[in-house]
């Protein structure tokens, strides 16, 4: 009721934001990986995967300076992750129609964001097909960091997040640091040099 009565005011005045700095838990970082493929790459999936000419990441500390400029790009990559909606829902036959409708809308919003980012990058890289990936940069445990000597930029801490059916993460669950030297489920192929 309070929201409906003052919602217009707080929305317009840019006061309608929750204040949750590093809450409920500090979590992993989320990056956008931008892959450049030749425009006329064959449709064959394996050929396509091998055709990467170049790839880079947002945010990038070196390319984006000063720090506030870097942070703007970091917020975009986190926002890109926050808006993610999977390509399909698990067991969609039993899901409530309203949830399905919301998911379709969320997926449209996410896809149109990706399209918007790709269009921007296309102006910088004409002649290339651009593919965007969501990358999660996990946080190492003290044991991995101090005992196993993993760096914070160790490739094993980076993993590609799948676009397919996935359960929504529970924000109240603690963000456990990675404590296993096993590689990520979908490790990215090359070292992130940032």
């Amino acid at each position: 009721m309070l929201r409906s009565s003052i919602g217009r005011y707080v929305d317009f005045m840019y006061l309608s934001h929750g204040y949750f700095f590093f809450a409920p838990n500090p979590g992993p970082g989320h990056l956008i990986e931008c892959q450049l493929h030749p425009e006329n790459t064959a449709a064959n999936q394996n050929v396509f995967l091998r055709s990467i000419v170049k790839k880079y990441f947002y945010p990038d500390r070196v390319e984006q300076w000063p720090r506030l400029l870097y942070h703007r790009h970091f917020m975009l990559s986190e926002f890109h992750h926050t808006l993610f909606a999977p390509t399909e829902l698990e067991d969609s036959t039993t899901i409530d129609a309203r949830i399905m409708s919301q998911w379709r809308e969320d997926r449209r919003t996410y896809e149109s964001l990706q399209e918007s980012i790709r269009d921007n990058l296309a102006t910088k890289h004409p002649g290339y097909r651009i593919v965007l990936k969501r990358i999660q940069h996990d946080l190492p445990s003290p044991r991995l960091y101090f005992v196993d000597r993993w760096k914070l930029t160790d490739p094993r801490l980076y993993g590609e997040l799948i676009e397919g059916p996935a359960q929504a993460p529970d924000a109240t669950q603690p963000s456990k640091p990675i404590d296993s030297p096993e590689p990520r489920a979908v490790p990215i192929e090359t070292e992130v040099t940032r």
């Binding site: 929305d11 949750f20 409920p24 838990n25 990056l31 720090r67 919003t109 918007s116 914070l152 640091p177």
Partner: protein, 314 residues
């Protein structure tokens, strides 16, 4: 009788006239930060707001179709217009910082920055929220009455006044300064309360590991403080102090006895965020927001001390 006391206290809390000295410090810092924010937008203006921006104006408009935000930048992506917009915003922000035409400049820079905020959804973070909050409340204050070119010009017009020691001349008192200050204070209390309650939902703030997770968050890290992982007791202490301070800030910042301690912790926490977690702009503006709890009389004493020191050292 109780009712009379209550209304008297209420009136004093909200309307007892005060000088604009503390608000002037906040105005200078906020204006400077607004100028910097617009300079940074300008560095990649085409990427941020142009026709082929990361988030196009059509996409942002579509995202906000169900809320009550609006921006003229949802309809304009002409680069000459955007450049003019940002240059004007930078000039206005500098005028705000130096306090020239203050009464007109603050609402204008507030509105232009608000339009940018509604355009730049997805790129914003706490810095934008705090700067906009402070600018909103500065609009109703008379912060141009102190530490400003406006004030210096007024003295110059009046030849009988000594322009070299303007800060020692009593500043005009206004209830608008009090209202503005109270709104900042209360807003800050709400920010911290919800920040604290939000952290309480997470386990890592209870077991202390939140500090480790922050230390190894490479995307945030600006200075390596992973050494803290060798001191679990220190991590637990830092996490618990943060949790307690943030949640109870709204209670403990008001009594004279606890206020200095709460403000000292605020400076420590935000300086830590700024220095170690790469958010120096955000950390600084949070410290500036805490200035709202420094009484104008205290600011005057500090300035007088600085002036005495500088005169004696000449």
């Amino acid at each position: 009788m109780i009712g009379k006391d209550f209304f008297q206290s209420w009136n004093m809390f909200w309307f007892l006239p005060r000088s604009a000295l503390t608000l002037a410090w906040i105005r200078i810092s906020t204006g400077s930060m607004l100028a910097y924010i617009h300079v940074v937008w300008s560095m990649r203006l085409a990427d941020f707001m142009g026709a082929k921006a990361f988030t196009t104006k059509e996409w942002v408009r579509s995202l906000h179709r169900q809320d009550y935000t609006w921006s003229y930048l949802w309809f304009i992506d002409s680069m000459p217009f955007l450049w003019a917009h940002e240059v004007i915003a930078i000039v206005l922000a500098i005028l705000m910082a130096i306090g020239l035409f203050t009464r007109y400049v603050i609402p204008l820079i507030w509105f232009m920055t608000l339009m940018v905020c509604h355009r730049m959804t997805g790129f914003l973070f706490g810095l934008d929220q705090i700067v906009m909050m402070l600018t909103t409340y500065l609009m109703i204050a008379q912060s141009g009455e102190a530490l400003s070119v406006d004030r210096a010009l007024r003295f110059r017009r009046n030849a009988s006044e000594d322009t070299t020691s303007q800060t020692l001349v009593p500043l005009p008192l206004s209830p608008w300064n009090t209202i503005s200050t109270r709104l900042m204070q209360i807003h800050l209390c709400i920010i911290y309360l919800f920040g604290g309650l939000g952290k309480m939902r997470g386990e890592t703030w209870w077991d202390g590991s939140a500090i480790w997770l922050s230390a190894v968050s490479y995307e945030y890290q600006s200075i390596d403080f992973t050494w803290i992982g060798h001191a679990p007791a220190l991590m637990a202490l830092a996490a618990h102090v943060t949790l307690f301070w943030e949640t109870f800030y709204c209670c403990l910042v008001w009594p004279k006895l606890t206020r200095p301690w709460i403000l000292v912790i605020a400076v420590g926490v935000h300086a830590g965020i700024g220095i170690f977690l790469g958010m120096i702009t955000f950390g600084w503006m949070m410290i500036v927001a805490n200035f709202a709890f420094i009484r104008p009389e205290t600011s005057e004493q500090w300035i007088a001390t600085i002036q005495r020191y500088t005169r004696s050292s000449r």
